[in-house]
């Protein structure tokens, strides 16, 4: 093993500087920097030529090249000719190669500092533009839906079937689990308070109304946002990357009708059904606590639930479910269609779809609750 790279500078004649390189000039060694030579050149006026002696050089890689390129850049600035005949042949060729195509000055991304106000301004403009895109998308969806009603929409029935299956039947296990547990948790929390007053039986009312009117729809919506909304965005995003959506467009087939419509339709149809199922699971969860822990009879619990939950509650719950379904499908498809043309863009589209859907679900829940309050139902 030879020693690490070393640098020696000699001045064999008045106007010549000889750079003697020895040892191993490899990236992992701690190598002398070109500054040393630069300082020497600056310190000795009258130098007209730089030559190299590399007879002691053992081994080299990019480490040597970086040193040489830095040195050459400096010498070019100083209009100092470099005589590279003393360098190893390989290094000489690579140096020539690196200089073959001059650096494109305007190719580097401008990393100019952006002032605070410019930043706020452009963010605001972006916000309104994305709002506009969202509205355009909703408008396009409505047009596509109109075409569907007139029987003119171009989509494949088999696609619709596949989406129906994936966001209907295949979602049952996760919806069961989540809603059963939510019912159970609600019952627990309620039981602790109600027990103080000896009013355990009202756990049935609490769980029944909460689940049927609100919680089942919200929980199913959130599960579907993560499960299906994200998947929609990823599917459409990947199709965007693969130019599959371009291929549809150039055939004159509207991606809105062909891709978005079946997904929207499937989710809007399946969500109320899933909600209905989630209601049952939630009430079951509450029943387990009520019957098992609070010693309420099975029939008693059932009767209390039936008495508490009226049709308005059910209607509002199912309506919310449908709205959430549309929101999840819209945000999934919107983000998928907006997706850029790279793998990371697909990931962002999926994330953004889930976030948009959940925000949409919470906002519309608030809206529906306020409206119901105003209407007195």
């Amino acid at each position: 093993m030879s020693a690490a790279g070393e640098l020696l500078i000699e001045q064999p004649s008045q106007d010549t500087l000889q750079v003697i390189l020895s040892g191993r000039w490899k990236l992992e060694e701690s190598l002398p920097s070109a500054d040393v030579v630069q300082q020497r050149v600056a310190g000795t006026p009258g130098v007209r030529n730089v030559v190299f002696d590399t007879r002691q050089l053992a081994d080299w890689d990019s480490g040597l090249l970086i040193f040489l390129i830095n040195l050459r850049e400096f010498c070019t600035q100083q209009k100092l000719p470099i005589d590279d005949s003393g360098l190893p042949q390989g290094a000489r060729k690579l140096l020539a190669l690196a200089a073959a195509v001059p650096e494109k000055k305007d190719a580097r991304k401008a990393a100019g500092k952006v002032s605070f106000f410019t930043h706020v301004g452009s963010e605001t403009v972006d916000f309104f533009r994305s709002l506009g895109e969202m509205l355009t998308f909703i408008g396009d969806t409505v047009i596509a839906f109109g075409n569907l009603l007139r029987g003119k929409a171009q989509y494949r029935k088999s696609d619709l079937g596949l989406v129906l299956e994936s966001c209907g039947g295949q979602a049952l296990p996760i919806v069961s689990l989540i809603c059963f547990l939510v019912g159970l948790i609600l019952a627990f929390i309620g039981a602790i308070q109600l027990k103080l007053f000896g009013a355990q039986i009202y756990v049935a009312d609490l769980v029944g109304i909460a689940m049927v009117r609100l919680m089942a729809a919200i929980m199913t919506g959130i599960v579907m946002a993560g499960r299906t909304g994200g998947a929609f965005a990823a599917q459409l995003g990947t199709m965007q990357v693969n130019q599959e959506i371009d291929a549809l467009k150039t055939l004159g087939i509207s991606p809105m009708e062909f891709l978005v419509l079946p997904r929207m339709l499937a989710l809007a149809l399946m969500m109320p059904l899933l909600c209905l199922y989630a209601n049952v699971m939630g009430i079951l969860g509450g029943m387990v606590v009520g019957v098992g822990m609070l010693d309420i009879g099975l029939i008693q619990y059932y009767n209390e639930t039936v008495k508490a939950v009226n049709l308005w509650n059910l209607g509002i719950g199912l309506f919310s479910g449908t709205v959430f379904g549309v929101i999840v499908a819209l945000s999934g498809c919107l983000r998928g269609m907006q997706c850029g043309r790279s793998a990371s863009a697909v990931g962002e589209a999926a994330t953004s779809a889930v976030v948009t859907a959940i925000v949409g679900i919470i906002l519309s829940t608030a809206l529906i609750t306020v409206l119901c309050n105003l209407l007195g139902i």
Binding site: Q154, D159, M239, Q243, E244, D246, A247, T250, G252, I253
Partner: protein
């Protein structure tokens, strides 16, 4: 030689992404039955040129004429009708991954013709056979190789017997033999069907083998510097950039 009929005319076209002008002042004519090459170095805007011609991106300035019709000056239904008579093979094939090859080729037929399912099946088999992929109809795009995907992409582009076929980098990512076969296929289809072919490529071998007309987009000047038969261009050009491009940088 009979007078050639102009199929697609580009006039004073400028293409830009936002403020960034990719190419300006493009004017050239693609005749019926041409194999027209859009060539130029990487990043010069060849593919952007194609996206404008097939209606995916609007030009910043200028016109594209299909026959006598100003394409970007027309309304959407007219544009749709024009572009339906064109087929496009995308760089990666862009086959719809959730459908089999047969379904991919059948979709345009189902959408735009009243053919019976049995008839459509026959057409699909014919198109697959034409690109040398008979019997692959039941495969999904992910189950076949890149070269086969491209050929299947051509079969889909040809589904509606288009008047003009666009190819985006047909030989990119193919081995020399497959690339050659694809070139032969393009020539063969032009000769037998009389389809106008527009090929975006920088593959020299292809350019000279199939091109009957071409335009050269010069990235440094941001405009076109030559148009005409590639072999004639090579023989007659005095422009160093074009000469460098057409000779692969080798000095003659």
């Amino acid at each position: 030689m009979t007078e050639k009929e102009a199929h697609i005319t580009i006039r004073d076209l400028t293409m830009a992404y936002g403020d960034f002008v990719v190419m300006h002042d493009l004017t050239f004519t693609i005749n019926r039955g041409d194999i027209f090459i859009i060539m130029g170095g990487s990043g010069c805007g060849k593919s952007t040129m194609m996206t404008i011609m097939i209606g995916l991106k609007s030009p910043a300035k200028g016109q594209v004429f299909y026959g006598q019709v100003d394409f970007w000056g027309s309304d959407l239904p007219t544009r749709d009708r024009i572009i339906r008579r064109a087929g496009v093979m995308y760089q990666s094939g862009a086959l719809w991954s959730s459908m089999t090859l047969a379904e991919n080729i059948a979709l345009p037929l189902e959408t735009y013709t009243d053919l019976s399912p049995a008839r459509i099946r026959e057409v699909v088999e014919l198109k697959l056979a034409l690109v040398g992929m008979a019997g692959f109809g039941e495969f999904y795009p992910s189950e076949i190789s890149g070269g086969m995907q491209k050929r299947a992409g051509i079969a889909r582009a040809m589904a509606l017997d288009p008047e003009v076929l666009f190819f985006d980098e047909p030989s990119a990512g193919l081995d020399p033999v497959s690339a050659r076969r694809l070139d032969d296929l393009i020539l063969e289809l032009r000769d037998s069907l009389g389809t106008t072919m527009v090929v975006v490529t920088h593959e020299l071998a292809s350019i000279f083998a199939i091109g009957s007309n071409s335009v050269f987009l010069d990235a440094s000047k941001r405009t076109m510097t030559a148009t005409g038969n590639p072999s004639t261009l090579l023989a007659e050009t005095k422009d160093p950039t074009l000469r460098l491009f057409l000779t692969r940088g080798e000095k003659s």
